[in-house]
Every structure is written in structure tokens, then in C-alpha cells.
């Protein structure tokens, strides 16, 4: 600080200019940032506002597993209801159940698969395989979901239909639902394959960024490669693994197009009591329901019901974001970088 500015006579040179052009720039850029803020706030507010009638009409029954009712029939009724007598009855439990089963199963399998594959890539893979595998994994992470859906519906569904949907299987659920290969089993499988590559990429990056001194230290103590990787590398990469898991869950939750192609267009709640047939039963998760019924948005009660579905997805996504942020904050306390 110059003497003059310290006395307060005159502000230092660059400071002067900063007050005008910089402030303008700051305000402009701040406005841009606020646009982003306003968009999200607007999205949350408007979606909930539109969705509220459906929730308020049904109350807790909207979510309840014991409410009964057939979602497809209810959607039909809502669609055909007139403006003067709007029907809003919706018991969306089958959709919620389908979403939960598919998402959670896929994420669990994908996390295990991604962790082991990442360890393979980082530690055990021969150089040739590794150099070939890494770009392929990155490519798979970028493949659009509709292509996965295409493979699912043209290859996997007929295969499952031929191999697993035997006559006896069909008989056992004949009264309730018909099996034709489009099932949650295929949905879980394709979804797992879809979300694993991005998880692998994140975990591999995290394992590689663990400081080499830790690994050297573990190995110098006479610990074998696998143990050293597991107890030091994977442990230090835990925040990244959690982040990858959250990211994968968010993607799995919102996957609409692929699942609508592959899990069948029947909003049925698969019954775990059916044993292995459970995985052959069709279902329709929330996001797929919205996309399947998107033509009906011109009918207000129908639109409100669909917005209610979207609201549930939005809340889950926001909740996942915060959960991920919180868990990563907790884990980061134990992984300070070495001096």
C-alpha cells in the first residue's frame, strides 16, 4: 500500500479501476449465476405446485403399499375423466416399488463390480489388457441409454423369453400377470451394465490418485499387493467410491427410456414371494411411466399425476445430492493428505 493510500488520500491505482469495471462485471456474472439458481428454484416450485393436487387428493395412499389398485387402470381413468369431474385417484406403490428394486439392485451389483474391476485395472491387469480396457470403459460410459435399450429389447428380452420363461413359470403366475421376457431381471442387468463404466472410471481415478508413499509404506512392511491395495488404496478412496455410488444411483433413478423399453409396459409390482420368478415379472419404474404416458399431458388431472411422479423423482435426486455431500464430508475427515 502506498503511503498516500494508507493515509487515505488516494486509493491505489488498480483499486480505482476495479471499483467500476470490476463491479459491473461482478454484477453481470452474478446475475448469470442467479439465473441458474432461479431455474432450479423455479423447477422445484412449479413441479410441486402442479403435483400438489394429486398428492392432496390421495394423501398417504399415494405411497402406501397396502392401498391396492391397478396403476394402469387408474391412469386410464384419470385420462378419460372430464374437466368437470376430475379423477385423481392414484396409488403409485407398484411404481415406487419397481423403481426401488431396480435401482437398488443395480447399484449394489454395479458398486461391487466396479470396485473389483477398478482394482483389477489399477493393480492386476497386464499392460496390454489395461491399455485396451480403459478407453473401452470410457466409451461405454458415454454410450447413450437408448442404445442400451435397443440391445436389451432386441437381444436380451427374446433370449430371456426363450430360456427362462418356461410354461411352468407362466402357469405359476397365470392369473395375475403374463410373462414375456420383458422383466425387471433384464432391467437390472442392463442398468447395471449401464452404470458400471462411469463408476469404474471414477474409482480408477481415485485409486490412482492415492499418494504413492502410502502404497510404498504398506508394501515395505511386507504386506502383499492385494492387502496393501485394499487396506490403504481402497480405504483412502472411500469418498470417491461413495461419490461414484451416489452418481450411479442418481443416473439409475432417472433412467426412463432404457427401462421403458426393457421392463415391459405393465405397471405391476413384482412379488418377491414368487421366488426366482420375481426377476421375470414385468414392472415399470416411475421415470419410464412418465415417458410412456407423455401424450396424455394435455388432460389436466393426468398432467398433475405425471407431475406428481416427477416430484417424487426430483425429491429423491435432491436427497441423493445432499446425502452424497454429507457422507463425503464425514469420510474426508479421515483422509488428510500426507505432509
Amino acid at each position: 500500500m502506498t503511503l498516500a493510500s494508507r493515509i487515505g488520500l488516494r486509493k491505489a491505482g488498480p483499486r480505482n479501476k476495479k471499483n467500476r469495471a470490476d463491479q459491473r462485471a461482478e454484477r453481470l456474472l452474478g446475475a448469470l449465476a442467479c439465473v441458474v439458481l432461479a431455474l432450479i428454484a423455479g423447477m422445484i416450485i412449479f413441479v410441486f405446485q402442479k403435483a400438489w393436487p394429486s398428492f392432496s387428493h390421495n394423501g398417504f395412499d399415494w405411497f402406501s403399499p397396502w392401498a391396492g389398485g391397478n396403476v394402469d387402470d387408474e391412469l386410464n381413468a384419470i385420462f378419460h375423466s372430464s374437466a368437470s369431474n376430475p379423477v385423481l385417484t392414484m396409488h403409485a406403490w407398484p411404481l415406487i416399488w419397481a423403481t426401488a428394486v431396480i435401482t437398488i439392485s443395480a447399484v449394489i451389483i454395479a458398486t461391487g463390480m466396479a470396485l473389483l474391476s477398478a482394482m483389477f485395472i489399477v493393480e492386476f491387469a497386464p499392460t496390454g489388457i489395461r491399455r485396451l480396457l480403459e478407453p473401452v470403459v470410457r466409451l461405454l460410459a458415454a454410450v447413450p441409454s437408448v442404445i442400451y435399450g435397443l440391445i436389451g429389447i432386441l437381444v436380451l428380452v427374446p433370449w430371456v423369453d426363450k430360456t427362462f420363461v418356461t410354461d411352468s413359470a407362466k402357469q405359476s403366475v397365470a392369473g395375475v400377470i403374463s410373462l414375456n421376457g420383458s422383466s425387471i431381471g433384464v432391467g437390472i442387468l442392463v442398468l447395471t451394465v449401464m452404470i458400471t463404466p462411469i463408476m469404474i472410471a471414477i474409482v480408477v481415478d481415485a485409486l490412482r490418485s492415492v499418494p504413492a508413499t502410502w502404497r510404498d509404506g504398506a508394501v515395505a512392511l511386507g504386506v502383499n499387493r492385494f492387502r496393501a491395495l485394499w487396506t490403504v488404496g481402497v480405504r483412502a478412496a472411500r469418498p470417491a467410491i461413495v461419490a461414484a455410488g451416489i452418481l450411479a444411483t442418481a443416473r439409475a433413478l432417472g433412467e426412463a427410456i432404457m427401462l421403458s423399453m426393457v421392463t415391459g409396459s405393465v405397471a405391476f409390482a413384482p412379488n418377491p414371494i414368487d421366488g426366482s420368478i420375481f426377476f421375470l415379472e414385468p414392472a415399470r419404474p416411475l421415470a419410464a411411466t412418465i415417458i410412456d404416458n407423455s401424450e396424455g399431458l394435455s388432460v389436466p388431472p393426468f398432467a398433475q399425476t405425471l407431475y406428481a411422479f416427477a416430484a417424487v423423482l426430483l425429491v429423491s435426486a435432491a436427497f441423493l445430492s445432499f446425502a452424497g455431500w454429507y457422507v463425503r464430508r464425514v469420510l474426508r475427515r479421515y483422509t488428510l493428505s500426507p505432509i
Binding site: 456474472l29 452474478g30 423455479g42 473401452v136 421403458s260
Partner: protein, 339 residues
């Protein structure tokens, strides 16, 4: 094992012809616990085997997907089909329908990607600059950061339905087609482009922010010491240095836009060809059309026109585009940035 020459490349572990006598040593410490001598316990071996299994399974799945798509695609892609307009043709038992091409879907993908990126780029870069260089007041910065994370995690179907909600208001009738009854159609290229920009936004913001934050402090200080104010520093020094990060984020965003189906299905109308509203470029933008993703969806068994051959062909073209973008991102992130 004979002695090898020392010059040139040294061979591994040459053994000397005679080993000197080492005196017998008296241990002055007890022998270690024999249980401690196990270097690789069964659990460790199981772990390594699991890693290998996961890695090989990953290889198998990854390569089979890529190869299958390439094979099927090459089978059905004809070069002149790229230049033809799509024609609705069903595959019958008599033979596959190969009528028509996919010029319009390709154009649709290009238009949508361009619009989405053009909108997202300035907003994204501006917000990123504000977040990394200004960021006052801090509660606002944190709120904006949370919003960016929420957008990143929101399912695209929710963004699509929000777009429909907003743009069917009469206020935005100029952006699309308005039917006679006064109902705004709410679906057009512009509208889809605007919502697409939302899904590219988090990627651009994150990449730009990382790039700007990785510029060391002394570069900024040098610029300030020369008397430049903050906004000139940003414009002349920091932005050019972050070019690589911005390009990476933009390409990732473009890839995501090109691969998204949900927004297209909801917000682009269901026309196979480009149906403009009025003449010229603006008319096309206000009109409806299709993209490669919705074309694939429509031609799959889940869509209206059941012609898998066209679907495979379009999927192949889409895959090529995605591979190309991936490659571009790889090149960008691998090349050393010259500061």
C-alpha cells in the same frame, strides 16, 4: 546360469559361479510366530481371484457390446441412406424395411446439439467464473453450487416435463406452434434446445471451474501487479489458460445432449421429418422433428415403427458420433496445456 556381459542391457539376476561362505549366525531373538509367515492368506487369494473375474467379465461384456453394435450397424448402414429423408416403413415378415434414410434425424441431432451448447456455454462459463473468482456473498455461492449439483443429478425426464410445464404457457407461444384452441403446443427445437442446455450446464461449469482453479496463484498476482483489474485478468489471462478445460466440458456436454432421449421424446414432437413452422431457419427451429435417439426409439419394438434394421443403423451412426466426441475429449485432456 552363466555369467552375462555387463555392457549393454543388464540381464536379470545373474548368479555368480561361487557363493562365499557366510558364517552361521546366532539368533538373539526368538523366531517369529509361524502363523505370521503366511504371505497370501486364502482370503487374499480369493480377493485376487475376484478381481480377475470381474476384470475378465468386464472385458467380455464391453467388447461384446461394442462388437455387436458395430457388426449390426455395418450390416444395415448404407451410405446413401444418410442422405435420404426417413420414410415410415414397417418391417414385415416378408423382409426388412429399408426404405428411407435418416437425414432428418441426423440434422435434428446436430441442430439440437448446437442450440443446447450455444445456450449453455455463455451461462456456464459465466457462472463458473463468478463461482471461482468472485463468489460473494458466500451463501449465494454455496446455493449456486448446490443448484448445479442438483441439476447434475436430476433425471432428464424431470427436466423435460418441467420444460413442458413452462413452455406450454401462453407467454411462450412464440417459441412453438399454437393450435387453434389457444393451446400452446410447447414442443419445438428451440424449446428442446433450451432444456438440453440445462443438462450440459453442470458439465461445463464443473470443468471450467476446475480449470480456472488449477491456475496457480502467481499467474493472477503477476497480472494484478501489472496493474490490470480483475475483469481484464479474467478475459486476457485466465480464460485463455482455461481453454482446455472449457473445451473438455463443452464436448462432454455435447455428448450428453446428443445421447439424450427423454427430452427429445417429450419436447420435440413426434414427427419423423423436420416440420417447420413457417419458413426459413427460424421456422425450422420453431418446428418439430426427430433426432437420432428418438429415431432409434421409434424404430425399436417399443416404438411405433417396428423396423430393427433402421434402428441398428441409426444406433451405429449415433455411436460413431459419440465415439468421435469421446476421442475429442481424450485428445483435449491428454494434450499438455501451454500456459
Amino acid at each position: 546360469m552363466s555369467s552375462a556381459p555387463v555392457s549393454g542391457r543388464l540381464p536379470l539376476r545373474k548368479r555368480l559361479p561361487q557363493m562365499p561362505e557366510m558364517p552361521k549366525l546366532r539368533r538373539d531373538r526368538p523366531l517369529p510366530d509361524p502363523d505370521e509367515q503366511v504371505a497370501w492368506s486364502p482370503i487374499d487369494r480369493l480377493g485376487v481371484a475376484a478381481c480377475w473375474a470381474a476384470g475378465l467379465l468386464l472385458c467380455a461384456i464391453a467388447f461384446s457390446i461394442v462388437i455387436y453394435l458395430l457388426v449390426r450397424g455395418i450390416q444395415f448402414v448404407t451410405v446413401d441412406a444418410i442422405g435420404q429423408h426417413p420414410v415410415v416403413g414397417q418391417s414385415t415378415d416378408a423382409g426388412p424395411s429399408t426404405a428411407g434414410g435418416y437425414l432428418d434425424p441426423i440434422l435434428g441431432t446436430l441442430i439440437l446439439t448446437t442450440i443446447g451448447t450455444l445456450i449453455a456455454l455463455p451461462i456456464g462459463v459465466g457462472t463458473a467464473i463468478w463461482l471461482s473468482e468472485y463468489g460473494r456473498p458466500s451463501w449465494l455461492a454455496r446455493a449456486v453450487e448446490s443448484c448445479v449439483e442438483i441439476i447434475a443429478g436430476t433425471p432428464t425426464i424431470v427436466i423435460a416435463i418441467f420444460g413442458l410445464l413452462v413452455f406450454t404457457q401462453n407467454l411462450f407461444g412464440f417459441l412453438s406452434f399454437t393450435a387453434e384452441g389457444g393451446a400452446v403446443f410447447g414442443r419445438s427445437f428451440i424449446i428442446a434446445g433450451i432444456m438440453m442446455s440445462l443438462i450440459a450446464l453442470p458439465l461445463i461449469i464443473t470443468s471450467t471451474r476446475e480449470a480456472m482453479q488449477s491456475i496457480p496463484a502467481h499467474v493472477r498476482e503477476a497480472s494484478y501487479a501489472l496493474g490490470k483489474d480483475k475483469i481484464s485478468t479474467i478475459r486476457r489471462v485466465l480464460l485463455p489458460a482455461s481453454r482446455k478445460g472449457i473445451a473438455t466440458g463443452t464436448t462432454l456436454g455435447m455428448g450428453r445432449i446428443a445421447g439424450d432421449t427423454a427430452i427429445v421424446v417429450l419436447l420435440l414432437g413426434a414427427s419423423l421429418t423436420l416440420q417447420g413452422q413457417g419458413g426459413g431457419v427460424l421456422g425450422t427451429l420453431k418446428g418439430t422433428g426427430s433426432t437420432l435417439t428418438s429415431y432409434v426409439f421409434a424404430n425399436s419394438p417399443a416404438g411405433e415403427a417396428n423396423s430393427p434394421e433402421k434402428a441398428y443403423a441409426a444406433a451405429f451412426v449415433l455411436l460413431i458420433i459419440v465415439i468421435f466426441m469421446n476421442f475429442a475429449v481424450d485428445m483435449l485432456s491428454r494434450r499438455r496445456s501451454d500456459k
